[in-house]
Symmetry: C2
Subunit: 197 residues, 2 copies
């Protein structure tokens, strides 16, 4: 039961961060959305909103990467997997009226210059995505440096496209970002074949 | 004098938005940073923080695009201009300890689902960049659809790289985004030559 309350608080906070950001989310909103008593936040997160925020960022980052793994495990063609990941993110945006984008992107920008523990949590998530994504691209034959460059470009395109798509309430930017990610992946794979051959 | 106060308020607000975001910036901080009396905000911006926010977003967007124009006017090689824009943005980040990134990116994510007038202001800025940037790429021989796709990818890479670079306090993401933007521009220019030839 205690565990369930903790999970409900984490889920509700993640949802509120996506829509209102870190600064715009209050503890009162969190306990209301989680149907939890006010004191339960401090019971489970003695460090208050900052500790809760860091846990939500790390947990959301892990969950989001699992989605990446699922899509790449299910689709043998890496170009189709790249395209599928971007277009799937776009579809989720559309059906949520452009609210449900990256769970940590907004927080990352908000806290970068103002909250060092939270900045470090967002940096840890991005670096985890980059290291694990690079390992997957290395599995396709890319050199380590090329694999790391490609996943960084992938994440930058995705985060930038989330921003443009949410602002415009249009999928155009996500579709163009998908095309760029596919083109960059195709070029990197071709380069690795040329180098090996 | 009144005009000077208005300008000082706009400048101070833009600076605060870059570091603290829209939600994290209060009117008290704004008047203190602008050395302006509290009432002057409502004198110049009767709509309060929301009106001020929208004006700052539109004004910062125009100023930032002027920087793009300056760099592209000064550098005849478009690939060098693209690289120069990204690396210049990175250098500004570095010397400001990763605080001075896009003036509207953080606000865009914060308000996308919560403040419709401000969302529309951020969407207007992005669309203005896209239309004017596409016109410049059309001037290099790209078809309208290819030019629009390229500038959207350019802005997405830049905004995403700002996010990753600020979180990590490292220029790596900006350097990899520069390489991606150069590669996409080179491919688009080559495509336009092949089509014309």
């Amino acid at each position: 039961m205690a565990t369930q309350t903790r999970e409900r608080i984490l889920d509700a906070t993640a949802e509120l961060f996506r829509r209102h950001g870190y600064t715009g989310t209050g503890l009162k909103q969190i306990v209301a959305a989680a149907s939890a008593p006010f004191g339960s936040v401090y019971h489970h997160f003695p460090g208050g909103k900052e500790q809760l925020g860091a846990e939500v960022v790390l947990r959301s980052g892990r969950m989001y990467f699992e989605l990446f793994e699922l899509i790449f495990d299910a689709e043998p063609d890496p170009l189709e997997a790249v395209r599928g990941f971007f277009l799937g993110a776009g579809e989720t945006l559309r059906v949520t009226d452009y609210a449900d984008a990256c769970p940590i992107g907004t927080v990352a920008l908000e806290v970068a210059s103002t909250n060092e523990p939270l900045r470090l949590a967002t940096a840890e998530v991005f670096e985890d995505w980059i290291v694990r994504g690079a390992a997957r691209f290395e599995g396709l034959g890319l050199e380590p440096a090329a694999a790391r460059a490609l996943i960084i470009q992938f994440v930058a395109l995705l985060e930038g496209a989330f921003m443009l798509a949410r602002a415009a309430k249009s999928l155009e930017a996500m579709e163009r970002a998908a095309e760029a990610a596919v083109a960059l992946t195709r070029a990197a794979l071709q380069q690795s074949v040329d180098t090996a051959g």
